[in-house]
């Protein structure tokens, strides 16, 4: 069951640097939100505040039915990081099992579920491989599988495909849509890629830097499931051009 989430008046500073300034954002339950913006605009900081890993100086994150703390205790938040952060001494299956072990919920019957996740992310046959034996894209897929292992109601992805080349990225975009469509957790995707954001998201949050703030929230009208050739349609391009314009205008300064 996905959860709706609201970020209210959240501000966060690191010394003189104001990473987030009065952020107001609501994510409907089961929605997919992309956050884009230039480097240093606070995208990752926002994600960490939403996850509860970082406490804001002011404001709060409230969920429709529970608190972030409760969600964490039940393991209902899944998160992936830019560099996949896999434990190098564990195999693919063991890495995916990690959240369950921490939550003391690892039982023998979970093995089937982990195997299913391995298949879901398209890594069948690699269950016993170590991260060093996998490519960057494969490691990210393990990270996503790990984020999904507890059936999260909130899924947070921090630039998961940043280090991948265009072709692989496209493939991963399609994979992510396929995986997400299964249970539709409330998802936040932080990304540099405008096209990725438009393809995957229901709404796109455009952020600006110094101080970190939301400059625009744009609805994405395309219906799901979105086909591969969406990337080539003129409607798609119109939207990405518009977003690019916003971003560049934001950079030009007041």
């Amino acid at each position: 069951m996905a959860e709706g989430l609201c970020v209210t008046e959240v501000s966060k500073s690191f010394g003189p640097n104001q990473a987030l300034s009065s952020i107001e954002l609501c994510l409907p339950a089961g929605s997919f939100t992309a956050v884009i913006g230039p480097s240093g605009c606070g995208k990752s900081t926002l994600l960490r505040v939403i996850s509860g890993l970082l406490l804001p100086d002011r404001g709060q994150v409230s969920l429709a039915e529970s608190s972030p703390k409760e969600l964490r205790q039940r393991g209902k938040i899944g998160m992936s990081f830019q560099d996949s952060a896999l434990l190098p001494w564990r195999t693919v299956s063991e890495n995916i099992a990690l959240p369950l072990q921490i939550l003391h919920r690892y039982r023998a019957n979970e093995r089937a579920r982990i195997a299913a996740l391995v298949d879901l992310v398209g890594l069948s046959g690699f269950q016993d491989a170590k991260p060093a034996q996998l490519s960057g894209g494969m490691r990210q897929r393990v990270a996503i599988a790990r984020a999904l292992v507890t059936d999260p109601t909130l899924l947070l992805l921090d630039e998961p495909f940043a280090s991948l080349d265009l072709i692989l990225r496209r493939r991963m975009n399609l994979e992510l849509q396929r995986i997400w469509l299964k249970d539709r957790p409330t998802t936040v995707l932080v990304t540099h890629g405008i096209d990725e954001a438009v393809f995957l998201a229901d709404q796109i949050v455009v952020m600006a830097a110094s101080p970190g703030r939301i400059s625009e929230i744009i609805e994405v009208p395309f219906s799901r499931p979105r086909p591969t050739d969406l990337f080539t349609t003129s409607a798609f391009h119109a939207l990405t051009d518009r977003l690019e314009g916003h971003l560049i205008a934001g950079m030009a300064g007041p």
């Binding site: 509860g52 890993l53 393991g75 998160m79 560099d83 507890t150």
Partner: protein
């Protein structure tokens, strides 16, 4: 080996310094019970000390990482554990403890610092995202520790275990110098005066072989357990802690406490160990001994003359060892084939414990300053070499490629790029070998020349001059720490000079 035998038979080698290998083997065989029992005694004590020392080191590292305040408070004690020349502590332990205990304690002390600092580095070098992930699922600090930090530090712990094998053996043997108990160390001392080079070589070979075997045993175990090798030398030393207390006065207070703690410990030793007060000399008693006691004048004179002999040789040994290490490391970078050729003898040098090497050098160079200097140089050489070789390997290739593009000469590459990256490691290497250089000189003095602090300690031990024993021990620790701090101060001065 064959070359050795031929050279010996042909009379190329000085007969009284380097016997033929056949003679050595004959000697080994004919005295095998003596060798076996001495070896067993030393290995026994060294192994127990090794276990205790390493367990303590890992436990201490865990506590220090968990509670940085404790680490800062313990810094004084840790520095002493790092800086103390093991040979100086031997007689002290012999006074205070019976039986095998001195060997065990010195072996444990010898392994403690290196394993502790490497483990601390390993516990700290964790992927921050992995830690964040674990917190995401509500893991407590203990869970995070258990799942991530400890496992992540395992290769570091393994490399500490590997590197400390030789130290444990060395510690046990040096303790035997002080106690005279059964073991290879005592056996060696006895053989030095017999005028039988075969036996000296025999003991050296046995020691080296044992050290190599144990090293490979631990390496084999480590390889089965971990997934990547870690070098010990770049991480040895005092890591910077991340969290600092808020105020300057708090920092000063903690630093002061850290410095005082060893003295407090020392002063309370008579209570802790329940021994005759004459045997344990507290700091206040040492002060009296040196300033107003009955033999103050002669004692002070002996200390000063010993210092004049030991300290210059220690510094010279460090300097020569450092220069040799630097030259070899640079040669390896610019002439890789030469590097390959050098590696084998260097590896052999490393596996010979100080106590095995020293008698051999004394046989070759006689009982004088030359031998002392050679010993000090050779023990300083290897750690410095490893540190510098690693530093050179860490120089970014891209920077060098830019120079290569303009066909820079090796000298230019050295001056423009390499030196920049190398300089901090030069100081790290120097600090690393400061106590070792002193130890090398004192060992040579003890075994051969009779001069300096090594000779003074040996003499005091023979005379049961407790005041002198404790004085020499504490002064050598101070000198060792002083050298360390001096190098640190020079490093800071150089850095601020470069930054201005």
């Amino acid at each position: 080996m064959v070359l050795w035998q031929l050279a010996s038979v042909a009379g190329f080698l000085p007969r009284d310094a380097i016997p033929s290998p056949l003679n050595v083997l004959v000697e080994l065989w004919s005295n095998r019970e003596a060798y076996a029992s001495n070896l067993a005694a030393t290995v026994f004590a060294a192994s127990i000390g090794y276990l205790i020392g390493n367990i303590l080191a890992v436990a201490a590292a865990v506590v220090f990482v968990r509670l940085p305040v404790v680490e800062r408070l313990a810094r004084g004690m840790n520095m002493i554990a790092f800086a103390v020349p093991a040979i100086a502590i031997g007689p002290l332990l012999a006074i205070a403890f019976q039986g095998v205990a001195p060997q065990i304690i010195l072996a444990a002390l010898s392994v403690y610092f290196i394993t502790m600092s490497v483990t601390m580095a390993g516990l700290r070098e964790v992927d921050p995202d992995a830690l964040a992930l674990v917190h995401l699922y509500g893991a407590s600090r203990w869970s995070a520790f258990r799942w991530i930090r400890l496992r992540s530090a395992l290769p570091h712990i393994m490399s500490g275990l590997r590197a400390s094998v030789t130290s444990a053996l060395l510690g046990a043997m040096l303790a035997e110098f002080g106690t005279g108990a059964t073991g290879l160390g005592s056996y060696l001392l006895a053989s030095m005066s017999l005028g039988r080079p075969e036996r000296v070589w025999g003991i050296a070979m046995v020691t080296t072989t044992t050290s190599l075997l144990l090293f490979h045993l631990i390496s084999w175990i480590a390889a089965r357990v971990t997934w990547q090798p870690i070098s010990t030398f770049a991480t040895t030393g005092f890591a910077r802690t991340d969290d600092r207390p808020a105020s300057r006065s708090a920092r000063f207070f903690v630093a002061a406490m850290a410095t005082l703690l060893p003295f407090v410990f020392w002063q309370s030793l008579p209570l802790l160990l329940n021994l005759s007060p004459a045997v344990i000399q507290t700091p206040s008693e040492i002060w009296t001994y040196l300033t107003s006691g009955p033999e103050a004048v002669t004692a002070w004179a002996s200390i000063l003359s010993a210092a004049k002999q030991t300290i210059p040789l220690a510094i010279a040994g460090m300097a020569l060892g450092g220069v040799a290490a630097l030259s070899l490391a640079l040669a390896r970078t610019f002439f890789p084939s030469l590097g390959q050729a050098i590696v084998a003898p260097v590896l052999l040098l490393q596996s010979m414990p100080l106590v095995a090497l020293t008698p051999l050098i004394i046989l070759a160079l006689g009982r004088g300053a030359a031998a002392t200097l050679a010993i000090s140089t050779s023990v300083c050489f290897y750690p410095a070499f490893l540190t510098l070789a690693q530093a050179l390997e860490g120089t970014p290739e891209a920077a060098l490629d830019v120079l290569r593009l303009y066909r820079a000469s090796p000298l230019q590459m050295l001056r423009i790029v390499i030196l920049q990256y190398l300089t901090p490691y030069l100081f790290t290497a120097a600090r690393l070998v400061a106590p070792t250089g002193l130890l090398g000189v004192m060992t040579a003095e003890w075994l051969a020349t009779g001069y300096g602090f090594g000779g003074l300690m040996n003499e005091a031990r023979g005379n049961l001059d407790y005041g002198m024993i404790w004085t020499v021990a504490s002064i050598t620790v101070f000198i060792s720490l002083g050298l360390y701090e001096l190098i640190l101060a020079i490093e800071r001065a150089v850095r601020s000079l470069r930054e201005s």
